[in-house]
Amino acid sequence: MTSKPPRLAVSLVELFAPIDSAEGVLGDLEEEFVGQLARSGLRAARHWYWRQALRTTLHLLWGAVRVAPWLTTALVLASFIGASLLYGVLNRGVIRLVGQIPINDYNTAVWSWRAAALVRLVAVPLALGWSIAVVARGREMVITTLVAGLLVAILFWNLAVVAHYLVSRGLPARVVYDRFFQILQLGMTFPLGLVIGGMLRRRRQIHASRIAT
């Protein structure tokens, strides 16, 4: 363990802090970390840093919403509707495209479906997250996180409905459990991809601002 703040916690704060105040926030946290290190040792200081980083991230997220509530709501709703529509259209497009590939053997079938799954479950969500972050310039992580949160809330609502339906049909618990996790795994790739896409765009912005200064 080095006597530096935890890198992951630093990155988390850096992702959510506005570009113009990121240096101030991270510098303040590091200054306090040095004080904690001298007083209580490395383990306690790192624990303190993680706790502060998580609290700070939540405050920065909520603070960004409070500074411009209407703009944030409009961006979240527009992104949610746009991304959901595009996700559906692109997914159907990929499936149609794969359906046109002449499949003569087992290997071709497996590889074409693997490629399609990679595009549908990884590339498309990442590209949409990146696009949302481009539109939400300066608020990349706030908007992508809130859109992802909305998608996860809807997913869990749907899961509850599906689970209730399966249980009411008298299906064994094992089957209900398997279906539940299949839907959960598939459903989580979209919000997760959006956040990672936003994160990649944000990191690029941070890198560009470092070069500029």
């Binding site: 101030g24 303040d28 200054e31 306090e32 502060q52 700070t56 409070r66």
Partner: protein, 110 residues
């Protein structure tokens, strides 16, 4: 002259801390000032979120300080209260004083 901006409780506390610290108001010192005087454990994020809001309202102004080694080579973001900020604070104090006028808080709320 426009009407003074409305201040929330925490905004009021942060503004007072910035005023007390004069030329040395930045995240760490504001946090310590609040902790020492109110006993509240607040995060750096809460301070920055509030200061950003106050800056958007034009009640504080910020400037970048010099980078220092104990801050990992990062600069401070120093804050000071603006004239509208002082007016908003004066108005908030006046409103509080008017509401308390004729009341003994210790007797009235016990």
């Amino acid at each position: 002259m426009s009407a003074p901006a409305y201040l929330g409780e925490f905004e009021h506390i942060v503004l007072l801390a910035v005023l007390r610290l004069d030329d040395d108001a930045y995240g760490v010192t504001v946090r310590h000032e609040i902790e020492t005087r109110t006993g509240r454990d607040v995060s750096i994020g809460a301070i920055y979120a509030t200061l950003s809001r106050l800056e958007a309202k034009g009640l504080v102004k910020s400037r970048a300080g010099e980078p220092t080694p104990e801050r990992g080579g990062r600069g401070k973001r120093l804050f000071r209260v603006t004239a509208p900020g002082r007016r908003a604070m004066t108005e908030a104090q006046r409103v509080l004083a008017r509401m308390l006028d004729g009341l003994n808080p210790l007797e009235s709320f016990s």
